[in-house]
């Protein structure tokens, strides 16, 4: 009985706050905000918004960075999967996925910024030897007006996400048999994968792809670090307006939040049209029956690009680590003039509080999400109702609403809603806020494994006289330990990375490593940022290590239950 309520509970829990938050953003956008004397509806906020210098450009950059980021990340992931042949390199890249996913967006962005800046690490490595630069060249690379460095930063982080999602969905397609079949008809391996597996895979990863589009069109923290500035992306502009000392700008900011919703929706719609176009062209390509053209170049491109992205991310993080112990470090020195532990010693006494509340919030949100997810999935198994996969409008599809609706569009409204309900901003409220984002990811990570689980195990248990509950507790749960832990690790990582929900719902009074890192980032000291970014990145890593290590330890005598290698 309680199980039946799980899907309903999930949907209410996720959709309610978002809708309420959107309404509270919508009202001020049309001039209604009594606390600031706005008691009548008007279009003035919109007129002000459209009079903002550079608005069109902001919108264009948000829109295009969303589409370009997704296009590149998805292409790289699909090409890599197509060309992967199970070699040692392929396995290594797969294993790198989890730690890459655990690096918070902001930390990865800082790493990339230090790598590619004119005074950055790459430039230092070749100066003055190759370039003759004694001082950094005056080139606009980071924060370029076209948002290229922003897109690069996002691509680095979205590739591991899409790869993980694809790897989770692939086994149910039985790709090996499909490829074998195609190969027996004379297709080269990469072409065979692209023609026989990819068309079936895409519908399964469509939702994660949409989440990437939504995220990339509305991201704040990465855009602050790598994005253009004159004007910045729409989301950053909105944040600035919300924080403008002139409170009257709140109306315009709300209108901006609504516009952001529209921009994200437009990007999604454009992508949907692209899907149709690609499907049509792709069918022709498949029908033509080409068996080998492009095989080698496609395979090399897939591998090369994913290696480049992985390598960039890790070197970026390594350079942050170097910064965290650096003394004075002038261009064009490749290494600092001296090393010091003072940055770490200064930060250590302040670490315990934020680390403790980060762990508390992440654990609580993840456990709640796990319980709800298991309940919903188990209910699905027992009632035999399977939601249509990959479709947006199934009732549980609403689960992904928090991933599609831009945070900036509803969080400010949600704060007002919570204030009206009289909830005190404490850990519980922050946990609730994190749950909005943790739950979809946990569900996304766990559902495929759960649905794929061979029903004959449970049937066997039932036929031996076990009740459904016993079958669940003693057969299904233990056998699904590995995917459950992976889902938890993803949930922890998502929670640890949250900035806006923590800061807004916690009234700033609930410090986590991420809020600390970003408020110190406002100070721009790369050494301090290095310390905090490393702490921020290492916490989720612990989660992933446990997720990989625990099943191996527990099931040291049962190879089949240790999870994927």
């Amino acid at each position: 009985m309680i199980l039946r309520l799980a899907p309903l509970l999930i949907v209410t829990l996720l959709v309610g706050p978002i809708l309420a938050g959107l309404v509270m953003a919508m009202l001020p956008a049309f001039g209604y905000l009594p606390a600031l004397g706005g008691t009548e509806f008007s279009l003035t906020p919109w007129r002000e918004l459209f009079a903002q210098p550079g608005l069109a450009r902001s919108v264009a950059i948000s829109f295009s960075s969303g589409l370009v980021t997704t296009l590149i990340s998805l292409t790289v992931v699909l090409l890599f999967l197509a060309g992967a042949s199970g070699s040692r390199l392929d396995r290594w890249i797969r294993r790198m996925v989890s730690p890459l996913l655990s690096i918070p967006h902001a930390a990865a962005a800082f790493g990339l910024a230090f790598l590619i800046a004119p005074s950055g690490l790459i430039s230092r490595l070749v100066s003055p030897g190759v370039t003759g630069w004694e001082r950094p060249p005056d080139l606009l690379i980071v924060q370029d007006p076209w948002g290229l460095s922003l897109m690069a930063g996002l691509v680095i982080k979205e590739i591991p996400f899409l790869l993980l999602m694809s790897l989770a969905a692939l086994p149910q397609l039985d790709p090996d048999r499909r490829v074998a079949m195609a190969r027996s008809l004379g297709y080269r391996p990469t072409i065979a994968w692209l023609k026989a597996v990819m068309p079936a895979l895409y519908p399964l990863i469509r939702l994660p792809v949409y989440a990437v589009i939504a995220y990339a069109t509305s991201v704040v923290d990465v855009a602050l670090i790598l994005g253009p500035t004159l004007p910045p992306t729409l989301s950053v502009s909105i944040l600035t307006w919300f924080h403008d000392p002139d409170l009257a700008r709140r109306f315009m900011a709300s209108a901006g939040a609504v516009l952001q919703l529209g921009v994200t929706a437009a990007a999604l719609a454009t992508w949907w049209c692209l899907e149709c176009l690609v499907a049509r062209l792709g069918r022709r390509w498949i029908d033509r029956g080409g068996r080998r053209r492009g095989e080698l170049s496609l395979r090399l491109a897939g591998k090369g690009l994913i290696l480049l992205a992985t390598f960039t991310a890790f070197v970026g993080i390594a350079s942050l680590a170097l910064n965290s112990v650096a003394g004075f470090w002038r261009f064009p020195d490749v290494l600092p003039q001296g090393f010091t532990t003072s940055h770490w010693l200064r930060a250590l006494p302040n670490l315990s509080g934020p680390v403790a509340s980060t762990v508390l919030i992440a654990t609580a949100a993840t456990l709640i999400a796990l319980v709800l997810t298991l309940a919903a999935l188990e209910n699905e198994q027992r009632t035999g109702r399977h939601p249509a996969q990959g479709r947006l409008v199934s009732s549980l599809g609403l689960l992904y609403l928090p991933l599609i609706v831009p945070q900036i569009a509803f969080l400010f409204g949600l704060v007002v809603v919570m204030e009206s309900l009289g909830t005190r901003p404490q850990h519980a409220l922050v946990i609730f806020g994190h749950l909005l984002f943790v739950l979809p990811y946990v569900f996304l990570s766990l559902s495929e494994a759960y649905r794929r689980f061979d029903p004959r195990w449970s049937q066997l248990a039932l036929s031996l006289g076990a009740s459904r509950n016993t079958a669940f507790w003693r057969v299904r749960l233990p056998m699904l330990l590995a995917p459950m832990l992976t889902a938890c690790a993803v949930g922890l990582a998502v929670s640890i990375g949250q900035y806006l929900p923590t800061q807004l719902l916690g009234a700033g009074r609930v410090p986590t490593v991420t809020t600390e890192a970003l408020s110190l980032a406002a100070g721009g000291n790369r050494r301090v940022i290095g310390v905090w970014a490393l702490v921020q990145a290492s916490l989720p890593l612990v989660g992933f290590i446990i997720a990989v290590g625990l099943p191996r330890l527990l099931w040291s005598n049962r190879r089949g239950m240790r999870g994927s290698p």
Partner: protein, 406 residues
């Protein structure tokens, strides 16, 4: 069954208690003893910009002091932008939370203060009754009574004094400019070696305001609301100057650093060789922190530099007003102000008037070593007052309209 009945008992007991609690009366600043009494045991949430570790360390030190002396627990709520705290108070007002606000104390000035005052978001007047207030010599120090020309009216207590200074790398610059026109000439000869923070960051605003004041013959009009003057005519020299300057800036003026910290990092990386700061001791502090080379020194323009004071204010709905008042007053004490001025700790200038202090307290300030890149008080020159906030708003908007690409 008995168990269930039992579990409801605490709730039943609590209900009349909740109803019986009277609406909380605000503390009376005129009776400081009662304020001290009421403050005892309170937890004060201080929303303060946290971008600088030295600031955060100083606030922690304050926390230890007030815990010991007044039995107050001080919590530093770290924010990246003061407006976040203003947003919070506004959201509470919007939701009808007039009694139990989260924000007890804000570090504030200028535009944020003007906004909060205009929207009735502040508690007070209280600051003129604070025991340490007379030490600022308010009679002879207009900066204490007017925050960017807006009358303070006892709604905030002075805390910190800041003045804009330029800093330059003596290893790269032979002779530093002494005025805005000289800066332009210098930038022409050294393209890409200077930039300022992006408007509307407060340091960016300070730079264009400084240029405006230096380049105008008549500066009186900037201290009245902008509506009373001809904005176009008054600011024409500024825009001409910026149009000439920008092509010679870092990245040819196509991008600007976000804030003073990013500007400092550019200086540390050797991307620029002249920068500016709103803290006279920033360069010394950054050298000690390995962020700047020890060849960096500070300088000021001949006609004086923009300066202002920052304050501590209490929102109208703060839950711990008494505690906030006691903390604010402690921060104004000679002991706390001297600690703050020490560049090893933070290096933020005092708002106290040294003449009003006792011999012993004055010695605290005179013994401070200001650091190699810090100008002595008599080298800082004349302080130019901040124009009326409406000018800054108008300047921001005009700058953006001119320099943001469409």
């Amino acid at each position: 069954m008995p168990i269930r009945a039992f579990s409801a008992l605490p709730l039943l007991l609590a209900t009349p208690l909740l109803l019986a609690t009277p609406l909380h009366a605000d503390p009376d600043p005129g009776d400081w003893e009662s304020v001290l009494d009421e403050a005892r045991g309170q937890t004060v949430y201080w929303y303060a910009w946290a971008g600088e570790e030295r600031t955060n360390d100083y606030i922690q030190w304050t926390g230890r002091q007030v815990a010991e002396q007044f039995d107050i627990e001080l919590v530093h709520v770290k924010i990246g932008d003061t407006a976040e705290a203003v947003s919070r108070v506004l959201a509470e007002k919007q939701a009808g939370n007039h009694e139990r606000g989260n924000v007890d104390l804000i570090w504030v000035n200028g535009e944020n203060f003007a906004t909060m005052k205009a929207n009735d978001l502040l508690f007070g007047p209280w600051s003129e009754q604070a025991p340490h207030y007379p030490l600022t010599d308010p009679e002879n120090t207009p900066a204490v009574r007017y925050d960017w020309t807006i009358p303070v009216d006892g709604l905030e207590l002075p805390w910190s004094n800041s003045q804009v200074v330029f800093y330059y790398d003596t290893a790269l610059v032979d002779e530093h400019p002494r005025s805005m026109p000289e800066l332009l000439d210098w930038a022409r000869e050294n393209p890409g070696d200077f930039t300022y923070a992006r408007v509307p960051n407060f340091l960016g605003n300070a730079f264009i305001t400084q240029a405006l004041l230096e380049l105008s013959d008549d500066t009186e009009r900037f201290y009245a609301p902008v509506e009373e003057a001809d904005f176009e005519a008054a600011t024409a020299p500024l825009w001409d100057f910026l149009d000439e300057l920008h092509p010679h800036l870092w990245r040819s003026g196509r991008a600007f650093p976000a804030n003073s910290a990013e500007l400092r990092r550019l200086m540390g990386d050797g991307e620029i060789s002249i920068g500016l700061s709103f803290s006279t001791t920033e360069a010394s502090g950054a050298i000690a922190n390995f962020e700047l080379p020890d060849s960096v020194r500070s300088y000021v323009h001949d006609d004086g530099m923009i300066g202002n004071m920052s304050f501590l204010a209490i929102p109208y709905n703060a839950q711990h007003k008494a505690g906030a008042m006691v903390v604010a007053d402690y921060l104004l004490s000679p002991e706390a102000q001297a600690e703050k001025q020490d560049p090893v700790v933070w290096g933020s200038n005092t708002v106290l008037s040294l003449d009003t202090l006792s011999e012993e307290d004055r010695a605290r300030f005179q013994d401070i070593d200001l650091g190699i890149a810090t100008l002595a008080p008599d080298e800082l020159g004349q302080v130019l007052g901040q124009p009326h906030p409406s000018w800054v708003d108008a300047l921001e908007a005009a700058w953006q309209a001119r320099h943001v690409r469409n």
